[in-house]
Amino acid sequence: MTPALTTTEPATTSAAAATLDRPAVRLSHVHKSFGRPGAATPVLDDISLDVAPGEFVTLLGASGCGKSTLLNLVAGLDRPTSGDIEVPGGRPALMFQDHALFPWLTAGKNIELALRLAGVPKAERRAEAERLLELVRLGGAHKKRVHELSGGMRQRVAMARSLAQGAGVLLMDEPFAALDAITRDVLHDEITRIWAERQLTVLFVTHNVREAVRLAQRVVLLSSRPGRVAKEWRIDLPQPRRIEDAGVADLSIEITEELRGEIRRHVQH
């Protein structure tokens, strides 16, 4: 995805290189506590993490590791107690476990609302919504009501709506956790394809180790209570992978062992 940049005019190369060097998301020493000062419970402790433009990173952790809190901070829905969060590309898009589509609008109108709020002119919204629905292979679903769609279709419309924001960074908060295994496999293929096609930066939260390994270029394991970066793995297996691949399985076993170790630490207290 970079060759286009290296062949451009020298004047623009320096600017392009500058943005290229900058991470799409940078967390520096982020702390987050909830509750009154003094009696506050730390949820995230000194999280530092860079996500490069176009990178696919999964955040993995057991309950209480503050994964969702972390995504909320990056999405700008909440502020860190201390530390810095930079998202140079502007407000990221956020997908939830619940599709969160608005039931009073059709599938297409949900996407058009996102386009409208992103400042897309009225005349272009309809066609752009159709294009996004085609992208998630739901061409022709424009007029469908949310309740007429299956769980997998709803998540795909939600994906299209997130993309409609035009954000370079897509945050995903266990978006496939409520789906059945076959639908989830299909959506893994789809998010991998769309990530590559659209050159998105993805920060994907999950507690499913195999899912994390199936999708990511890098898996970040968080410890629990408070959440800290425990360990990282770079994954060079070629895409598209299958969740059943031997490479995915081997690494999943290794990461699961680490995760179990992290969970076990909490017994002693």
């Binding site: 829905l77 939830f96 608005f102 039931p103 309740h147």
Partner: protein
């Protein structure tokens, strides 16, 4: 490890995924069918019609058995002839219209006042703390209780009628909106904020449409309260300035000891109240709920 190998692999996977996905979509999609008209007639229309016929039958039977004197319980036919009398006098529609116009215009004013109050109570914490309990309390106060006060403040005129309607309907409209806003799932508000719908845009595109079902329920109840309050006010307050509405007609027939006229008045008040609900509010409510998939299971 040539690049062609990988691209064919990607293509194959992509086609494979697409077809599995299409199959899943076909299998999992919810088929929403509208019930056929005959079934609607049989299940929804027939039972209430039978219910009304049953009431008429019992009434006729009680009359035929002479359980009491005809001046206390006239026959259904006598009430019917009171109706046709009004029809031939040409006053039937003017009586109904006087009350319906008053009720609807009062209701519209109640919506205009109750909606901003409801929004303020729902979204502004101090306002809610102060006004919330007052509104809830007012809702349980029968609005007839306001008639004497309204008459003393405003005199026996249309203003007093409207005041009673407003005092009856505004609290239930405001409360409906408050509970509608309270029941908005927080996920919609979060989703709205990530999409950039904050402030007024958030209210317009997310909060208000999400609160619509609760608001409609409040409007429906608000109409019922408007109509009841108005009938009570017309019954109690008597003045030539007010014109002849349904409540006044009912009271006049009592003064003439015309029991079939009294029964006709009661039936007309009931029919108008139900008709407005069925013709105006129910279709809107059903449409809103059906669009949101909240009307899939029917009773």
């Amino acid at each position: 490890m040539s690049s062609t190998d990988t691209t064919t692999l990607v293509k194959d996977r992509s086609g494979d995924t697409a077809s599995v996905e299409a199959g899943l979509d076909a299998l999992d999609s919810v088929q929403v069918q509208r019930t056929p008209l005959t079934q609607v007639l049989r299940q929804k229309v027939l039972p209430p019609v039978l219910g009304v016929l049953l009431v008429l039958g019992v009434w006729q039977l009680a009359f035929s058995l002479e359980l009491t004197t005809p001046d206390k319980l006239p026959s259904p036919a006598a009430v019917w002839s009171s109706l046709t009398d009004l029809w031939y006098e040409g006053t039937l529609f003017s009586i109904i219209w006087t009350s319906v116009w008053r009720g609807l215009s009062g209701f519209v004013a109640a919506v205009a006042i109750g909606t901003p109050i409801g929004l303020l109570v729902a979204r502004v914490k101090p306002v809610r703390a102060a006004l919330g309990p007052v509104l809830a309390g007012l809702q349980s106060l029968p609005s007839v209780a306001w008639v004497p006060a309204a008459v003393i403040w405003l005199g026996i005129n249309n203003s007093a009628m409207y005041a009673v309607i407003l005092l009856g309907a505004v609290p239930s409209i405001a409360n409906g909106l408050v509970s509608g806003v309270d029941q908005v799932p927080p996920i919609y508000l979060r989703a709205g904020r990530t999409l950039g719908a904050t402030g007024l845009a958030g209210a317009r595109h997310v909060l208000l449409p999400a609160a619509l079902p609760g608001y409609l329920a409040g409007l429906k109840q608000g109409w019922a309260f408007s109509w009841r309050s108005l009938m009570a006010a017309e019954l109690i307050a008597s003045s030539p300035d007010l014109g002849l509405g349904l409540g006044r007609y009912l009271e006049n027939q009592r003064e003439f000891n015309d029991m079939s006229g009294v029964l006709l008045g009661i039936v007309l008040i009931l029919v108008v109240g139900v008709a407005i609900d069925l013709l105006v509010f129910s279709p809107i409510e059903r449409r809103v709920l059906r669009n949101r998939g909240l009307l899939v299971t029917t009773r």
